[in-house]
């Protein structure tokens, strides 16, 4: 019979073979690491380096990745989706959707001035995602841009004052919000937008004429100061209007340079990273679609050839590092998808199918669920929405956990 050791030594006691951890135990630990750590530890020994490329291991790794609850939204079940549905040029709706089979749908009454008929073609757009239950809605009537922060739960609406853009009859002004997010350090909601001046030539190309027009610029809006400030950065601007921009964890991300670059802008210190996308030569093609989203805690791109049944997902290991993209999924569906319209919780991603139906694909089960709403073209967006009963700017309205 073993003699009990003294109390003093109790917690420090380790079993005799404490240094040896069986392989499958270490692999289980590895499968729960973030991409960067996994890549670093691949040089611990040869079998680990091989393991990381093993399809079974990758399967477990990605299942862990998508089944870990999103820290900002996990747990309390008050999470739903917001859908920006584009039906036709003057017909769009915003829905709040909830329920496992998306059975609960509530159409929202949009705040003014978005009720007014719009002349331009650019559909109303929800910038990025819903931050803390607040939507940033932006609309352009061809001349003027209106940007509004809106909390559907309280119906509070804040109209954002105009920035530094100039308007003159000699040229056209394009204002494009690229990101809406929350700066945790400054406790401030911010919007980053780009202003460009152009004219249209005979072939309908947009031309910026340097001598005739003011320089394009970036500016940041701070809700705290209720003002815009120009910033002197040379960042790539967004290429396509929809599903190339997303906010996560203090950073605004968008795809620029014809969807070949990822720009990641940190709101608290205005540092930005440019990461080339992992594209093959053949993929620099208009028919190759790249969408940007966030899969739990990782920035991800979803790629597909237009009108095919398969898509791929890669996640980013480290900003600014092209080699750190990791291909996680290669999915083959039975129906043709057109384009990603957003990501939900856990492994849910949403697409517009070629018959117009908006569907949810669950990455963990491989099952497709129709939302029961159709959308026109690819101009629909879906984002995670968590109801916020407080006023925008209220201290207790911020419900991010301490380490998010």
């Amino acid at each position: 019979m073993a003699t009990p050791t003294t109390n003093v030594k109790k917690m420090k006691m380790v079993s005799s073979n404490s240094n040896y951890i069986p392989d499958h135990l270490s692999f289980s630990i590895l499968s729960k690491l973030p991409v960067k750590s996994l890549k670093r530890f691949s040089i611990v020994r040869k079998s680990w380096s091989l393991l990381i490329q093993n399809p079974n291991f990758i399967n477990i790794f990605r299942n862990n990745l998508i089944s870990n609850s999103h820290p900002l939204y996990g747990g309390d079940g008050d999470v739903s989706l917001v859908l920006n549905q584009f039906v036709g040029t003057y017909d769009w709706n915003i829905y709040l959707i909830s329920g496992k089979k998306f059975e609960k749908k509530v159409k929202l009454d949009l705040p003014l001035p978005f009720h007014l008929p719009q002349v331009g073609v650019t559909p109303i757009r929800v910038v990025d995602s819903a931050i803390n239950g607040i939507l940033c809605i932006y609309d352009c009537d061809g001349v003027h841009t209106t940007t509004v922060l809106w909390n559907p739960a309280t119906e509070e609406k804040i109209v954002i004052p105009p920035g530094h853009a100039e308007f003159q009859s000699e040229f056209m002004t394009q204002i494009f919000p690229h990101g809406f997010g929350y700066d945790r350090v400054g406790d401030d909601y911010k919007i980053i937008q780009h202003v460009n001046y152009y004219t249209i030539d005979d072939e309908n190309h947009l031309l910026h004429l340097e001598d005739v027009m003011p320089d394009p610029f970036w500016e940041i809006f701070s809700l705290r100061s209720n003002s815009w400030r120009k910033i002197d950065f040379d960042m790539p601007t967004i290429y396509s209007i929809f599903n190339s921009a997303v906010y996560f964890n203090g950073m605004c991300h968008w795809l620029g340079e014809s969807d070949t670059l990822l720009v990641s802008f940190k709101l608290c210190n205005e540092v930005y990273f440019v990461t080339p996308l992992p594209l093959e030569d053949t993929q620099y093609d208009d028919d190759f679609v790249v969408s940007l989203t966030v899969l739990n805690e990782s920035v991800a791109i979803i790629t597909n050839w237009k009108n095919t049944t398969s898509f791929q997902i890669s996640i980013l290991g480290e900003f600014g590092v092209e080699e750190s993209w990791i291909r996680l999924f290669d999915v083959e569906l039975l129906s043709t998808i057109e384009r990603l319209i957003g990501a939900g919780e856990k492994g849910n991603i949403f697409f517009r199918r070629d018959d117009g139906e908006l569907v949810c694909f669950d990455l963990t089960t491989g099952l497709i669920e129709e939302i029961g709403i159709k959308g026109e073209r690819c101009w629909c967006q879906i984002a995670i929405y968590k109801k916020n009963p407080h006023l925008i700017g209220d201290k207790q309205a911020i419900s991010f956990p301490a380490n998010a």
Partner: protein
């Protein structure tokens, strides 16, 4: 002492302490469950090797929390990395699925920013790459070593002038 209640199972840890646990808790230990099922007669006392009484204390804590629906409140913060490893090995021996997932995630979280050298020591592994192979694979994954929050490699620190 023979257990007369069929609802409690007696488990004896490596340090000689006997724990009387509910059958439901014993069921979460697949290793113990297999022993119970194999025994023809009622088994009085099951010895659990590699498991010490301080491990059992934590296992019982976790069990109580999970029965109350509060498994998220279970924390291993007070354990240092070696104690955590030791606990994981005990839970692994007992083949307890849920707690195993919790602990492997906890170990992963501890190791996330560590150096390759630390990880080798932690797992008791030797580097089996040739110097050339190592240099090549190290270079290929160079980006994964950069960052102020990543523990620097010992051997590389020495090489820096």
């Amino acid at each position: 002492m023979a257990s007369s209640s069929s609802n409690l199972i007696s488990l004896k840890t490596s340090d000689g302490t006997v724990f009387k646990v509910e059958r439901a808790l014993a069921k979460t230990m697949k290793t113990v469950q297999a022993i119970i099922e194999e025994a023809d007669a009622n088994i009085y006392m099951i010895p659990i090797h590699n498991v010490f009484s301080h491990h059992m204390d934590m296992i019982i804590d976790y069990y109580k929390l999970s029965v109350a629906g509060k498994s998220k409140e279970f924390s291993v913060e007070k354990l240092d990395n070696d104690e955590l490893k030791d606990f994981l090995l005990a839970v692994h021996y007992l083949n307890m699925e849920d707690l195993f997932e919790v602990l492997t995630q906890a170990v992963a979280d501890r190791l996330e920013k560590k150096s390759v050298g630390y990880v080798r020591k932690y797992f008791g592994i030797e580097n089996d790459f040739t110097p050339e192979e190592y240099a090549a694979i190290r270079k290929k994954n160079d980006w994964a070593f950069k960052g102020d929050d990543i523990e620097p490699e010992e051997d590389e620190e020495k090489q820096e002038e």
